[in-house]
Structures are given as C-alpha cells and as structure tokens.
C-alpha cells in the first residue's frame, strides 16, 4: 500500500446532512463498477441501496465516505461514519474500547471515550460484556458494537455496508428490529447497502435498486409505510415483491 496523506475536508462534501450523488462512475482497471449512479438522501432519511451481490454497492459507499473519488460525476455528502461489511472490530480491543475507537481517533481521552461508549451499553444489550474481546461475542453482539462505534463517531451520515449479511436469519430479524428502534431514538441520515430486499423495505424511507455490474439505478421505490413495520404486513410483502420483480428475480 502506498502512503497517501489526505487533507480532511478539502473536497466539497457537505450538504448539511443530505447526500447527493450525480452520475457517479468508477472503474478499477478494465473493470467498470459504477456506470453513472445517481441518488439522493435528505437529512435524517434512511435510503437503502439494494442490488445483486458484487454489483458495486460497496464501491458506492466508499465514494460517499470520501475513501475514493469518482472517475466521473459528483458526490456530495457530509462527513460520514462507515460500518464495514465484516464488522471491522479490532480483535485485541475489548468491546468497550472497540465502541470507543472512533472517539479515540478523534482525539478524545481514553477514560472519556470509554465513559461515553459505556453510557450506551445497556441500551445496546451489551451490559456485562464491556471487557469481552470480539471473539467472545456472538455475531449479533459484534454488529451492535460495530454500530455503536459508528454512531459514536458523531457524524451526520452513517454508511452501513451489509450490516447483517453475515448473521443467521433469526438474529438478522432481531437486529433489523433493533436497528429500526435505534434509528428512531437517534435519527441520522443513513445509507444502508444490502442485498436483502426485505431488509430494505423494513428499514428504509426509500430504496434505490441497482443493476448487476456495472451498476446503474434501475428503479427508486418510496416506502411510505408507518413504523414499526413487520415482514408479514401486506404492504411490506407487496413492496418486497415489486422490488424483486424490478431486480428480475
């Protein structure tokens, strides 16, 4: 890896909490990942990006998080906190120190960062596991620690990359309910990347459906449904089926 020092905040990535991606293109060598993707997220809106595996969803999140620049098109976004696909927890840190990591990077003293993280442990169902290392936690708990870390970064935008992709169906359903509740308590602008259309319908205000690689937007569906939503609600089922149809499944 080559070293690169990026001055933070130089690029104009701020629309006061909202996201605006216009005609974004990105290639990796001969491989075209994004072929002109446009999407918007208003402040405090949850936008799900759904599409087949390997279609370039993670690439899109990297652009929004400012980790890479588009080859063409524009990306405007406020400072974002990324929750990577495989939780990205550091195996040598306790759950508490992992949750406090974002604040430690921001320069907050260890004791203060730990205290701030610990305030949320009960609400996140992590009480009693403060000193446990990630290997000692269940899959669902690891995701909660990772999400808490993302939340504590204090950024207006959260970029969640398939947050529950690695969980079993039962735990995933629990975690989806839990995330809906957590976002109701602490509203943020959220970009949720998922290959699970049902998850998108349950959690999002709007769903952007992507084609197989190179990704372009095939449809945008509004989800004007009241919360909390249940997977058996006729409206949820109908919307899920429509999304599946659009994706060609």
């Amino acid at each position: 890896m080559e070293t690169e020092v990026e001055a933070p905040g130089v690029e104009p990535r701020d629309v006061s909490g909202g996201v605006e991606v216009a005609g974004a293109e990105k290639s990796f060598g001969p491989l075209k990942a994004l072929a002109g993707v446009s999407l918007r997220a208003a402040p405090r809106e949850v936008v799900a990006v759904a599409g087949p595996s390997g279609c370039g969803k993670s690439t899109l999140l990297e652009l929004v998080c400012g980790l890479s620049q588009p080859d063409a098109g524009t990306v405007q976004a406020p400072p974002a906190a990324l929750m990577p696909q495989r939780d990205g927890l550091l195996p040598w840190l306790s759950a508490l120190d992992n949750a406090a990591l974002a604040q430690r990077v921001a320069g907050v003293a260890r004791a203060e960062a730990r205290r701030a993280a610990h305030e949320h442990f009960a609400a996140f169902g992590l009480e009693g596991f403060e000193r446990s290392r990630p290997a000692e936690l269940s899959g669902g708990m690891r995701q909660r620690v990772a999400f808490l870390r993302t939340l504590l970064a204090g950024r207006p935008l959260l970029c969640l990359d398939e947050p529950f992709g690695a969980l079993d169906a039962l735990t995933r359903a629990q975690m989806q309910r839990w995330l809906a509740g957590a976002l109701a308590r602490e509203p943020r602008t959220v970009l949720l990347v998922t290959h699970d259309v049902e998850e998108a319908v349950l959690l999002a205000d709007r769903i952007v459906l992507l084609s197989p690689r190179p990704a372009r937007v095939v449809a945008t569906l509004d989800v004007p449904l009241p919360r909390p939503r249940h997977r058996t609600d006729p409206a949820v089922v109908a919307l899920r089926e429509r999304a599946m149809e659009v994706l060609g499944a």
Binding site: T3, M83, R104
Partner: protein, 248 residues
C-alpha cells in the same frame, strides 16, 4: 510424546555406542555427554553465561534494528525501495566468511559477537513485522480512513497491534538461530563462550565435552524460544493461535 521420542532416540544412540563399539572420541554416548557436563560444569558454566549474554544483547539489537527497518519499509515506499535489496542481500552473506572480518575490525570483545548475532537475527524480525503490518484487516483500514485517522494513528491503533503475532513469529525464529551467530563469532576470535569451549574441546579430543557444550547451545536456543513464546502469549493473547490447544 516429545519426551518419549527423545528417550527412544537417546536410547538408540546409547545402544549403538555401547554395543556397536563406536569410538567414544568420534561419538560419545548420551550418558558420557551428561557425565562430561557434570564433571566440567565449572569449566562450562562461565562459557554458558558469556554466550547467553552475547545472544541476549545481539537479539535485543536485532529486534530494535528489525523493528525499525520493518516499520520504515512499511511507512515509506522510498525506504522500501532503498532497503529491501540490502536487507535480503545481507542474508546471503556467509557468516563464517565475514565473522573473521568483523572480529578484525571490532576486536576480540563483545561487540563483534553482538553484531554477528544481530546480523543473523534481524532479518526474520524485519520481514515478519513488515508482512504483518501490511496484512492488517482491510475493513478496519477502511474504517480508520473514514474516520480521518492520521498515518501515525493507523500505525499505532491498527497496524502495529495486528502485526504483533507475526512479529513474534519473527522473534521466535531469531531466538532459535541466534546461537549460530554467537558461535561463529567466537570461533573467529575469542577466549571464552560455548563456541570457544567447543573449539578447545575438539582440540583436546574431549569429544564428550564438545557434545556437552553443544547440548548447552541447544538448551539455550530452546530457552530463548520459550521465553518469546511466553511473551507472545502475554502480549498477543488475543490471536486464535494462542487460544487453540496444541501449543509449542
């Protein structure tokens, strides 16, 4: 199990020497080696202390130099391009050839021994650390970049801790081969140490004592390796490796 294997091998060795009538000047039986170790203990103990000291200092220098090189090569592409050929090339230098030269320049004291031990040992430390630094979890790397972590923060919070198990592998390899450097250095000019004891014992046809000195070198290497394995368990106890049964 290891004990059983060693006992069988020693038993076979003993039997071959005793029954086969091998000249004890060529190959002493294990019991004769132990006897020499005991009777010559006053002769060998100071030599063991000298060699241990050389090896410990040399290892310390190797770890400091290896860590510095590994980190420099990781952080700076320019340093990597400049240093890598030298670092790799240094391992092609035959130690028995340069040992007399080092002694010629640095004299008969401690310095040439420490230098030669360090020369043999810094490479596994530097390369394993360098590889470990690069192998940090890409997801965690992305995460830190999204948090605007500085290069130094990424190194301190992610890369160095995640390279620790790999660095310990390098240090364990270094510990196991360190005595070779010390012995060659002593052979090139020394009046003490286990390498020196080996030479004089050979000269006096005291083969059993030479084997006893070799046994001490063997134990020294195992002891140093064990010390690093303990440190690893203490400081890198979070790795899957150290929590699975099996051990060293």
């Amino acid at each position: 199990m290891a004990v059983l294997i060693i006992l069988v091998l020693l038993g076979a060795w003993e039997a071959v020497v005793r029954l086969g009538g091998v000249d004890e000047l060529l190959l002493p039986a294990p019991t004769q080696v132990l006897e020499a170790l005991w009777t010559d203990r006053d002769l060998l103990a100071p030599d063991l202390a000298v060699t241990t000291w050389e090896v410990v200092l040399g290892l310390a220098a190797a770890i400091a130099a290896g860590a510095g090189l590994g980190i420099a090569m990781h952080v700076s592409p320019a340093a990597r391009r400049a240093l890598r050929p030298l670092v790799i090339g240094s391992q092609a230098v035959p130690v028995p050839v340069i040992a007399p030269l080092v002694v010629l320049v640095l004299g008969f004291g401690l310095a040439p021994k420490v230098l030669l031990v360090a020369l043999v040992c810094f490479f596994p430390v530097a390369i394993n650390l360098y590889d470990g630094l690069r192998d940090a979890d890409p997801d965690a790397r992305k995460l830190l970049r999204s948090l605007d972590a500085t290069r130094w923060q990424t190194l301190r919070m992610l890369e160095l801790p995640s390279a620790l198990p790999s660095a310990f592998t390098g240090m364990k390899i270094a510990a196991a081969v360190a005595v070779i450097g010390a012995v060659f250095a002593e052979w090139s000019g020394s009046s003490e140490g286990l390498g020196h004891a080996l030479l004089t014992a050979n000269g006096q046809l005291a083969t059993a004592r030479a084997f006893a000195a070799t046994l001490l070198l063997f134990l020294l290497a195992i002891g140093l390796y064990g010390a690093f394995a303990l440190l690893e368990r203490r400081f890198a106890g979070w790795t899957p490796r150290s929590t699975t049964p099996g051990g060293p």
